[in-house]
Symmetry: C2
Subunit: 327 residues, 2 copies
């Protein structure tokens, strides 16, 4: 039922070449698209080239590509000239989360592209319905939300705003399979989209347990890591229920839902993090403390882990788990 696309013929634009933007460029290049990468700032312009080359090296290291990284660069144009977006069927904006800056960027994109171009935003903070008011063809505007590192993760969340036409969202949904993604399509523009809502539901409860001193921070951290972490990559939440046989969920829900945290407040511990500008591994102060060099160890560990978990996840989504992937 999928539309077929010839990715080599679909020019994609990316505006904003920070860490995330560069990583998205790499993802699109290895998927086979010709990519026009627009650097809205001088800093982006001067660093993008090296950054994207580095991302492609990582793709090569992770065996995501079999040709030499340099051969993908032939399909990449980096520029500060928005007019080069003219040939693009899809343009993805990933500049910083400030509405006035995004508005300015959309004006420049709109001036350059055809009326048939789909424009997507990588925002995770601003409602799509708000952003789509800033473009000429809001029915062709949507959220296209990636997870870092964009060339490695399977996740992609496509969000419709109030005015997005579903045919265009469906088109990106289908195209995303060509990017090696397992996309999700969010039909309503709800705050937090899908993943943030799910994650913050569990954050609300874990802070509640911490504040009530039911267990140490270390142990609370371990509980999710070693329980959910032992099946999460193989099964989603609904699949897990089916797998464990469904029998007791009704009763446990009945008992447990009324006991869960319904807090609307920022947890005391998180208030402290905000007040002290703790930045976790980035400045060594966070919910845990970090010794010199430990941040780098986490960075390195995550880069490796990400590669390995992708490999593992892929094994179980091809072949025998194939049926699962076809709704």
């Amino acid at each position: 039922m999928k539309e077929l696309f010839n990715v080599e013929d679909i020019h994609v634009g990316v505006v904003g070449l920070g860490l995330m933007g560069s990583s998205i460029v790499a993802a699109l290049l290895i998927a086979g698209h010709p990519v026009v990468a627009i650097a809205p700032t001088d800093t982006d312009a001067s660093e993008a080239d090296l950054r994207i080359s580095h991302q492609l090296d990582l793709c090569s290291h992770a065996h995501l590509i079999d040709k030499l990284p340099v051969s993908y660069l032939e399909h990449l144009t980096i520029s500060q000239d928005y007019d080069l977006l003219g040939a693009c069927s899809v343009v993805i904006e990933c500049v910083i989360e400030k509405i006035e800056i995004k508005t300015e960027v959309y004006q420049k994109i709109t001036a350059a592209v055809s009326s048939k171009t789909i424009i997507g935003s990588n925002t995770s903070a601003i409602p799509i319905s708000v952003l789509q008011e800033k473009v000429l063809h809001p029915e062709r505007f949507m959220g296209i939300h990636w997870a870092e590192p964009a060339f490695m993760t399977r996740f992609l969340e496509i969000t419709c705003g109030r005015l997005t036409a579903s045919e265009h969202a469906d088109r990106i949904f289908n195209l995303a399979h060509q990017w090696g993604k397992e996309p999700t399509l969010l039909k309503k523009d709800i705050r937090g989209f899908i993943t943030n809502r799910l994650m913050y539901a569990v954050y609300r409860e874990i802070f509640h347990l911490l504040e009530n001193e039911t267990a140490s921070q270390e142990d609370l951290d371990k509980a999710f890591r070693y329980d959910a972490g032992s099946w999460m990559t193989l099964m989603g939440l609904f699949r897990r229920m089916d797998y464990t046989g469904l029998a007791d969920y009704g009763t446990i829900i009945d008992n447990l839902f009324p006991q869960l945290s319904n807090s609307e407040n920022v947890p005391v511990k998180m208030q402290e993090m905000v007040r002290t500008t703790a930045r976790g591994i980035h400045n060594g102060r966070g919910l845990f403390s970090y010794k010199n060099g430990e941040s780098n160890e986490w960075d390195e560990a995550f880069a490796n882990f990400n590669m390995e978990i992708r490999q593992l996840a892929s094994e179980y989504s091809a072949g025998k788990m194939n049926d699962y992937l076809k709704p």
Copy 2:
């Protein structure tokens, strides 16, 4: 700071030899304990021997042991005679989740063991404070909650009831490290313990999204699998916040907590599952539907996946991630 134990000298009893009990017996045997396994029913008694041998074969297949499976059986006694528990320092009960049956089992255990024996229950449904009223020395009673397959997963949740003395809980917490676990210690006997509360918080939200038709069941399932699933095995929830830099959580919490589901009701879809006695992969009817043979594929996939994810998780909790493990 850990107490040192010589596992070979610590006799452990397990009462209840269903799938879970057998799997716990295997976990304790490969950790090096002499194990007394009590079968409270004739069915358990006749099948336990084969079942435990099979579990040990799986341990061997997963390279969890280097000696022959049969050599571990030398340290196992299977019996219906509770008196054999006399030499055990720890007895773990894992019979079915019926309070009257557990009460009867505790009476038999209490009659056989010394006043120094620690008794634990594998319950995930009945409050520890309720169960500990049924034993002679409630201060030595606690929840010792395993995850299937018990010899493979790193998860173990130790729960104190109202009357549990922390020194005894600490002792099991320390001993669990010798079982290859990453235990968590829950100091208060709250409903759902840690993991069920965290999981049901996210179940509450995902059913809310399903009922509001924000996305398809398949896509909601994928969102958590491919987002959280890409880091969960490496990092817990708090660690993830530190890793991503903490900067935006305060603001997002402020915006998002008031939007999350606070439902106290069993979701309509789950009511339907209860009404139709859907048992997921076990009878082919669940949140998803299953073709002939597909259940077996899921079983096989999970068994393999579990082995591989354990291996992957182990690589990142030893060596360079060592500091993380020492609170």
